[in-house]
């Protein structure tokens, strides 16, 4: 069956008139006194420092902010002339996390879900499903299971499910933040194709300006104090406000954070692998011969599914090698050389592992308690624990949060806290999985400067990452892995 191209939607305008929102139980308004008009069919990139209320505005536009018990609003927020709270179905929202947006088990059913909720007749639904899957470049069989899709495919599936409802306003909340570089481009291009066909209005929130730059025709910068900081064509806004935006944490082309200076003095060998094979279940990579030296940073890069995280966990003494061995001669200090055989409390003073999802690592009710966990396990005195924790709190900008519950922190704060927790026991080797994930340009620069300092003091860092800037700034060696099991190891040129 040849399916027709995507049917155009009626683009909708957005009007904010003195609009604001305060979450229940908070003292400050998330958004305050916002005046704004977005014309039908405009493509807007919404920027602002973290905490400026970008996501709040997007959720309000999507009508999922909740009712009176969730918070309090001021002013008016209109979509196509009527209240945003009645916008469901006219507005499509794609969120950040690919895993929590898949609703059903089969591709076709998942795309159909939104149409069903809108009461679209059956024949019409399947026509729209075909159209939408094609428009996002995901021409899979309708019965294909959704569980095996990559992150980029899941985000395109979510996009297909949304555009099948023919929304006049498309909202994207950091849709590419969790994806590898390949996935980022896939999703961006799918959005471009969809907009060209549907003509819908677009509002996208994203830290990485360069990704969406070619696609948008207007940039709006929200002010953390409320209202709009800058508004205009991308060229205009970035020329006038580029430096200020970069200082407030936005990734602005031409204003990228400067990598820190490093005094590279490679030290002794801490850990090496002999013909290491890794995997959990299926074997992901074989024949890995790596060397990790004090004062050096090894970056492990490559697409999702290549085994980067598994390699990190295996080097960190958390997963067994499938074949070959990990030998941490330079770290053992009297113990055997296989880190997997070390006791948990012996491990934390030798290798510090930071997981991809910080929430997996939190075991305490407060930030202060979280930092003390490792110290207590290794029997440090209270005074010594405080001596180690205080500078970390300050350095990683967590000082004002000591009493907060780790789960309530922002994504960037969680990441910095999980790095801080492993540093308390001063392990000479750090294994960090996506350490820069979720950081804005400012906290990124701080984190990278901090890691550079640790490296210069003789620590060693193994970083699993998608972040090319991080590799440029820190890595001495880059190990590029691929799904087919091929490897490319290179000294990072300076």
């Amino acid at each position: 069956m040849s399916s027709p191209p995507l049917t155009p939607a009626t683009p909708l305008a957005v009007d904010a008139r003195g609009w604001g929102w305060r979450h229940a139980g908070r003292e400050d308004w998330a958004v305050r006194a916002l005046d704004l008009r977005i014309e039908p069919g405009e493509r807007v990139l919404l920027l602002g420092a973290s905490g400026a209320g970008k996501s709040t505005l997007l959720q309000a536009l999507a009508g999922v902010l909740g009712g009176d018990e969730e918070g309090e609003s001021m002013g008016e927020l209109l979509i196509g002339g009527s209240a945003a709270t009645h916008a469901r179905g006219r507005v499509g929202l794609v969120l950040q996390d690919p895993d929590s947006q898949v609703v059903l088990a089969r591709v076709g059913d998942d795309v159909a879900f939104g149409c069903e909720n809108m009461g679209v007749p059956r024949e019409e639904i399947w026509l729209r499903v075909e159209q939408s899957l094609r428009a996002v470049g995901l021409p899979l069989p309708l019965r294909h299971p959704t569980s095996g899709l990559s992150g980029g495919q899941k985000q395109r599936l979510a996009l297909a499910g949304v555009i099948a409802m023919r929304p006049g306003l498309l909202l994207l909340d950091e849709p590419t933040a969790n994806l590898d570089p390949e996935g980022v481009i896939e999703v961006r291009d799918a959005v471009a194709r969809v907009l060209d066909a549907s003509g819908s209005t677009l509002v996208v929130v994203e830290h990485r300006v360069d990704v969406w730059w070619p696609l948008v025709d207007r940039v709006i910068v929200l002010s953390p104090g409320g209202g709009v900081l800058a508004d205009g064509t991308p060229e205009h806004v970035l020329r006038r406000e580029g430096a200020a935006l970069a200082a407030s944490g936005v990734w602005v082309p031409g204003h990228l954070p400067q990598p820190p200076k490093r005094s590279r003095r490679p030290g002794e060998q801490l850990l090496h692998t002999d013909a290491l094979a890794i995997g959990r279940g299926p074997v992901l990579q074989t024949g890995l011969d790596l060397v990790v030296r004090a004062g050096e940073c090894l970056a492990i890069t490559g697409p999702n599914g290549a085994g980067k995280t598994t390699l990190g966990l295996t080097l960190g003494g958390l997963l067994p090698a499938i074949d070959g061995r990990v030998a941490a001669d330079g770290l053992a200090g009297g113990l055997g050389t296989d880190p997997l055989r070390w006791k948990s409390r012996e491990l934390v003073t030798r290798i510090g592992s930071v997981f991809q999802d910080p929430e997996h690592q939190f075991v305490s009710g407060t930030v202060a308690g979280e930092l003390a966990v490792g110290a207590r396990a290794t029997g440090l005195s209270v005074a010594e624990t405080a001596r180690r924790i205080d500078p970390l709190l300050e350095r990683l900008r967590l000082g004002h949060l000591t009493a907060a519950n780790p789960f309530t922190l922002s994504g960037g704060e969680k990441r910095r806290l999980s790095v801080a927790t492993v540093l308390v026991t001063r392990p000479p080797l750090l294994v960090l999985d996506e350490p820069s994930f979720g950081q804005d340009a400012r906290t990124w620069a701080e984190l990278v400067a901090f890691l550079a300092e640790l490296l210069d003091e003789g620590s060693s860092v193994v970083a699993v990452t998608h972040d090319a800037h991080l590799v440029d700034a820190l890595a001495d060696t880059e190990l590029r892995m691929s799904r087919a099991g091929h490897l490319l190891e290179s000294r990072v040129p300076r």
């Binding site: 947006q101 609703v103 909720n117 809108m118 299971p145 958390l318 948990s344 929430e359 997996h360 927790t421």
Partner: protein, 264 residues
């Protein structure tokens, strides 16, 4: 069997695959209810014999049949062995040892139990390996008319179950990485279980937002992309189940073996 297998079982072409899951649920319930009313070997054997004929049409190969139904067979044997050794004593005693007393009565009860577990369990497994949860949800909402919010919410949640196992493994590794995996196994387990609960709730609420953003729970009457029909095939399956139940109970009553609710 992985979660993915359960969520999307292979689609087949045999008649059994096309039958509405609601009918399978009803058929299993009819036979099951009839057989729990009495424990005697006659009703169970009649039911099992009738079912055995039907299994040939179930669309399962012999190897697959054995693999899928093995747990039921094992459970039946364990139940039978327990009753054989400890069941209510009556008639001649064949072997006594401490609490163990194998008698004529316990032998008969044991055989009846074995047959009964098989007669109820086997058709349930055979009918349900071909059930796709999505189709079942469609059936429950469209045929039985359960509220769609409830049915689809449960279906969406089912997909998250597969992520639990991964989360649990990560939580375990993370505790070792934090230096607290050497002692207090029990307390650590409790803490980890709580962490898993927190993670699941967070995932669940994110999924709920995504569903809501796609119009789920709005006041608009919902349409259904997949029609769930209850036609003559379904009627026949349920009728067959009634016939089997009737034959089993009838034979048992006529031969005088029927003992209503375990012969209380």
């Amino acid at each position: 069997m992985t979660t993915a297998d359960i969520l999307t079982p292979p689609a087949g072409t045999r008649a059994i695959h096309r039958i509405n899951p609601v009918a399978k649920l009803a058929a299993t319930a009819v036979i099951g209810i009839a057989l729990v009313l009495s424990i005697d070997w006659v009703s169970a054997s009649v039911a099992l014999t009738c079912e055995a004929v039907l299994f040939f049409f179930a669309g399962l190969g012999p190897r697959q049949f054995v693999r899928r139904t093995l747990p039921v067979a094992v459970a039946a044997l364990f139940a039978a062995a327990t009753i054989l050794l400890y069941g209510r004593a009556s008639g001649t005693s064949h072997w006594r040892f401490l609490l163990v007393n194998v008698t004529d009565g316990s032998i008969e009860l044991s055989v009846a139990t074995l047959l009964r577990v098989l007669a109820i369990g086997l058709p349930a497994v055979v009918l349900f390996v071909t059930v796709d949860p999505t189709d079942l949800a469609d059936g429950l909402a469209q045929v039985v008319r359960l509220p769609s919010r409830f049915v689809l919410g449960a279906l969406g949640g089912l997909r998250l179950v597969g992520l639990f196992a991964e989360d649990w493994k990560s939580l375990e590794l993370a505790r070792r990485a934090r230096g607290i995996a050497d002692r207090g196994r029990l307390r650590r387990f409790a803490g980890q279980a709580f962490a898993l609960l927190v993670l699941s709730i967070r995932r669940g609420s994110k999924l709920a937002t995504a569903m809501e953003a796609r119009g789920f729970g709005s006041s608009i009457p919902r349409s259904w992309a997949r029609e769930s029909r209850f036609g003559w095939r379904e009627g026949m399956l349920v009728a067959l189940a009634f016939l089997i139940a009737l034959a089993a109970v009838g034979t048992s009553v006529l031969t005088g073996h029927w003992n209503f609710l375990a012969g209380a």
